[in-house]
């Protein structure tokens, strides 16, 4: 299989304009004859659905939540990047492009990343016009701040709830189109299969989560904006319902999966406090602007953090990475925390945390200023832990967070199945092996508002003469039957272990063996254990309840997919014999613990092709060609 990224010709800065100028259009009269399915209503999905509806297409929008406004984009806290250079501190599209491509450890496409930076300024304009109440200076102009991996202030924010406010903007745009009759929303619907006709994506099979009814929907194009799969680790910063099922089922229908093992561990999550826990709550990375990160200098220090004097504290990020200090990129900060925790310097009841200390910032700026910037985060911290972080350091630790991997897409965000598009975190495209903070909201928004509205019509322009597909087509019947068969199988195993049991077991295994660091030995053992766990799942799973509202049945289907995806993650990590970004192979590090990348052999995007159940998938490689940047050693020292 040849992977064609379809990157437009011309200089980097002109590629997107060239593309837009030559993209095919659909006559307004023809748009109302075309149907588009958008799965997911987060920033990427809601913005794409609303934008295409504005153009006049008929859009069907699906989400598993009870309303589109609850998609997990709502939880993003810190901010959204844009190269506006409002601070006159030297920012530019090129600098943002360079920061992002370097942040991703030179494992993303130049053209995609440049486009992301280029579209960023317009995105802020778009959001403001929708009423997103971004932070403002006293003169009325937009304020911004800096985020990890960057030396300029390019992050726009709405207190610590930027994702919520951006999502409400997109959701409201979606609701406006629903009212105008251009969008039909299907909430509490889960996509369980893709329907492919003559090699093209032509519809989906869903389960109505209230009635249990399996339903068929046909369209001229299918868009997946279903988010990431970090919940594969069970404990993660993601919402409980986040899952990989939509992208995984399309993977099994022929769409390739890329960079699967590239999963970011966020450095500022609340630590695990016991076995009962269902998730790890994220604290915004923006806290690192004012909080200083440290651990006790000596191992096994049993004193409470506030009792440890300044001279016996190790500000390890400031020590190891003086240029970026506490604002080091996420992969660096997470790994440095793990290194200190593994060395016995961790704090907290489980010795699994590091301190995020605001005492200096409070003494310099005053409590009120810190409260104004982060009050919701401090109160959230207190609700969960019972600790007042104005008085003593927060305890934080790294947690599974954002998946850089996802469905392989070309420059047009189309997968290897024609007519199937993947947007936002569901695709692998823009972040390489590590995502810089405040670029995830941006990518989701830019994909949905500005890119898909050009590339999907370009595809649809060639579909006008395709015969309208009826949902009685044999491909729909076959897809529906396979969904029903799987649901029946799961319901009838009748073993004695819950879906959560398997999810937790898989998560723990992946966290230890394919988590913040990996080795050949750990990965080979993980692959073996996942196979065993999967075999046990199909013999010992127990689902109670019926075929209507049944959260256990929903979970079981998602865990079944995770058990397959987890194995591919390990293969992906195993074959990449280098350390890059969030992927740290223990065999490839310098004497002082820094990652060693191998550009000669691994400067490619891995793309995996499904070969059948219990078969090893086939690895395809999309070479990454860098014409505008030098592949430097990524140093934040």
């Amino acid at each position: 299989m040849r992977l064609d990224a379809k990157i437009p010709l011309g200089p980097l800065a002109d590629k997107w304009n060239n593309y837009k100028q030559h993209a095919k259009l659909v006559n307004p009269a023809n748009r109302k004859k075309l149907d588009i399915i958008v799965v997911g209503t987060g920033l990427a999905g809601a913005s794409c659905a609303a934008s295409l509806a504005e153009q006049g297409y008929n859009v069907k929008s699906f989400c598993f939540q009870d309303t589109a406004r609850r998609a997990h984009s709502v939880a993003a806290q810190g901010g959204i990047n844009a190269a506006k250079n409002y601070k006159n501190d030297g920012d530019s599209v090129y600098r943002m492009f360079y920061d992002t491509i370097k942040g991703g450890d030179f494992r993303s496409r130049e053209a995609n990343v440049y486009r992301l930076a280029e579209c960023s300024a317009a995105l802020i304009d778009q959001a403001v016009s929708q009423g997103v109440p971004f932070a403002r200076e006293y003169g009325g102009y937009l304020n911004n701040r800096s985020f990890g991996g960057v030396q300029v202030s390019r992050t726009f924010y709405a207190r610590g709830q930027t994702g919520q406010q951006l999502l409400l903007g997109a959701y409201q745009a979606l609701m406006r189109q629903e009212h105008l009759g251009k969008v039909k929303t299907y909430t509490r619907h889960e996509m369980l299969e893709l329907v492919v006709v003559d090699g093209k994506a032509r519809g989906i099979i869903t389960r109505d989560l209230l009635t249990g009814k399996i339903e068929r929907y046909a369209a001229n194009a299918v868009v997946l904006a279903t988010g990431g799969y970090g919940k594969v680790y069970y404990l993660s910063t993601l919402a409980m319902g986040c899952n990989s099922s939509a992208i995984w089922r399309t993977h099994k229908k022929g769409a390739l999966m890329s960079g699967v093992s590239w999963i970011q561990f966020h450095p500022t999550s609340l630590p695990q406090s016991g076995e009962h826990q269902s998730k790890l709550t994220l604290m915004s990375e923006s806290l690192r602007n004012d909080g200083r990160i440290w651990v006790p200098s000596k191992a096994d220090d049993t004193r409470a953090p506030k009792d440890i004097p300044e001279t016996e504290r190790d500000y390890y990020l400031e020590r190891r990475y003086p240029a970026f200090g506490n604002l080091s990129p996420r992969d660096i900060a997470s790994r440095a925390a793990k290194e200190r925790i593994d060395a016995g310097c961790g704090v907290g009841p489980m010795k699994n945390s590091v301190c995020l200390d605001f005492s200096k910032a409070i003494s310099e700026q005053g409590k009120d200023k810190i409260r104004e910037k982060y009050s919701n985060l401090f109160s959230m911290y207190e609700k969960i832990t019972g600790i007042n972080a104005y008085e003593q350091p927060m305890l934080i630790s790294p947690a599974a967070h954002f998946t850089m991997g996802g469905l392989w897409v070309d420059y047009q965000l189309m997968t290897t199945i024609p007519g199937l598009f993947a947007l936002g975190e569901a695709n692998f495209a823009d972040h390489g092996a590590n995502r810089l903070g405040a670029n995830s909201l941006l990518q989701a928004c830019v994909d949905g508002y500005f890119i898909a509205p050009y590339t999907i019509p370009d595809y649809l322009a060639g579909e006008l003469h395709t015969v309208k597909i009826d949902t009685d087509h044999p491909a729909f019947i076959e897809a529906e039957n396979s969904v029903k068969k799987q649901l029946d199988q799961l319901l009838n195993i009748n073993g004695h272990l819950s879906a959560d049991y398997y999810h937790k077991a898989l998560g723990k295994l992946l966290y230890n063996k394919c988590g913040l660091s990996r080795s050949k030995t750990s990965l080979l053992s993980a692959i073996k254990e996942i196979k065993e766990l999967r075999a046990s799942f199909y013999q010992d799973l127990k689902i109670t309840g019926d075929n209507q509202v049944n959260s256990e049945l929903e979970k079981a289907g998602r865990v079944a997919d995770y058990l397959e995806l987890g194995e591919l993650m390990c293969y992906d990590a195993l074959t990449r014999e280098e350390s890059c970004g969030a992927h740290f192979r223990e065999e490839y590090q310098t004497a002082d613990g820094e990652a060693v990348r191998n550009d000669r052999d691994f400067c490619f995007v891995s793309a995996w092709e499904w070969k059948g159940y219990d078969q090893v998938q086939e690895l395809h490689k999309e070479p990454l060609i860098f014409e505008n940047v030098d592949l430097t050693i990524r140093s934040y020292k």
């Binding site: 009870d66 959701y171 745009a173 609700k383 209507q548």
Partner: protein, 248 residues
């Protein structure tokens, strides 16, 4: 700790439901309230019984999907908290806890603790947006917004749409939810031009959904996880009266 739980069980929208007793041992004070229900559900699975269905997702207090009445209070005893952010350290060993769905005629019960809040979406569809299309928005700094206005708009925009305000209101009024959106939009220069049609349409939809009227008991503000102020309702009434006075 050991807990006695009395939980509302209901098969579906049309059936009648009842409180059912459960006992749970070994509840850790560090668990969130929803993790406590997870634990109970795990024991139900072991007994072969159907689990308790409840709505939840982000478990960090921002998605608005969780929400039940706990001992008669929306989201339980703590002020300004979602159910997922309520931890068991707020309860004592041996406590009896009543857990019920949010009750309002406009929020039909779907199963057990799950409810249908789609009425909120339809209120937003009626006008809870700024009419702007994609792609050609003016430069963001071309319309300055004062720091205080932006902060005030944010205070209103922070509503998570959980429905606690409706559940706790004796009239099942959606006034706090609706007014928060109206105020958010009315404060911003971008939203001002269509403020009159917005308020009229949204209030009309709120009534059509069967939500009750606001009688100013202010219980909604007390139970709101985001501490949305009842001043929003005053603003909504002001905007509504203004729109009626100046109706062309």
């Amino acid at each position: 700790m050991k807990l006695n739980l009395k939980i509302w069980r209901q098969e579906n929208r049309d059936s009648s439901g009842k409180m059912t007793d459960y006992q749970l041992n070994e509840v850790s004070e560090h668990m969130s309230f929803l993790e406590m229900i997870d634990l109970l559900n795990e024991t139900l699975i072991q007994k072969g019984e159907r689990v308790i269905e409840f709505d939840h997702d982000c478990r960090e207090g921002i998605c608005g999907q969780c929400g039940v009445m706990i001992n008669g209070q929306a989201h339980g005893p703590l002020a300004n908290t979602t159910t997922c952010q309520l931890h068991m350290r707020s309860f004592k060993d041996g406590d009896t806890i009543y857990i019920e769905p949010f009750r309002a005629a406009s929020f039909p019960i779907l199963r057990d603790l799950k409810i249908d809040r789609s009425g909120f979406d339809r209120i937003i569809q009626a006008g809870g947006f700024i009419t702007t299309s994609t792609g050609q928005a003016p430069e963001a700094n071309s319309i300055p917004i004062s720091h205080q206005i932006a902060e005030n708009a944010f205070d209103s925009a922070a509503c998570i749409g959980c429905g606690a305000c409706v559940a706790t209101c004796k009239n099942s009024s959606a006034a706090l939810f609706t007014s928060a959106k109206i105020t958010h939009m009315a404060l911003l220069p971008q939203g001002k031009l269509e403020a009159a049609t917005r308020v009229a349409n949204m209030i009309s939809q709120m009534d059509a959904e069967g939500f009750g009227h606001c009688s100013n008991t202010e219980a909604c503000e007390v139970e709101c996880p985001q501490a949305i102020s009842v001043l929003n309702i005053a603003r909504m009434n002001y905007e509504y009266n203004k729109s009626m006075l100046f109706k062309p």
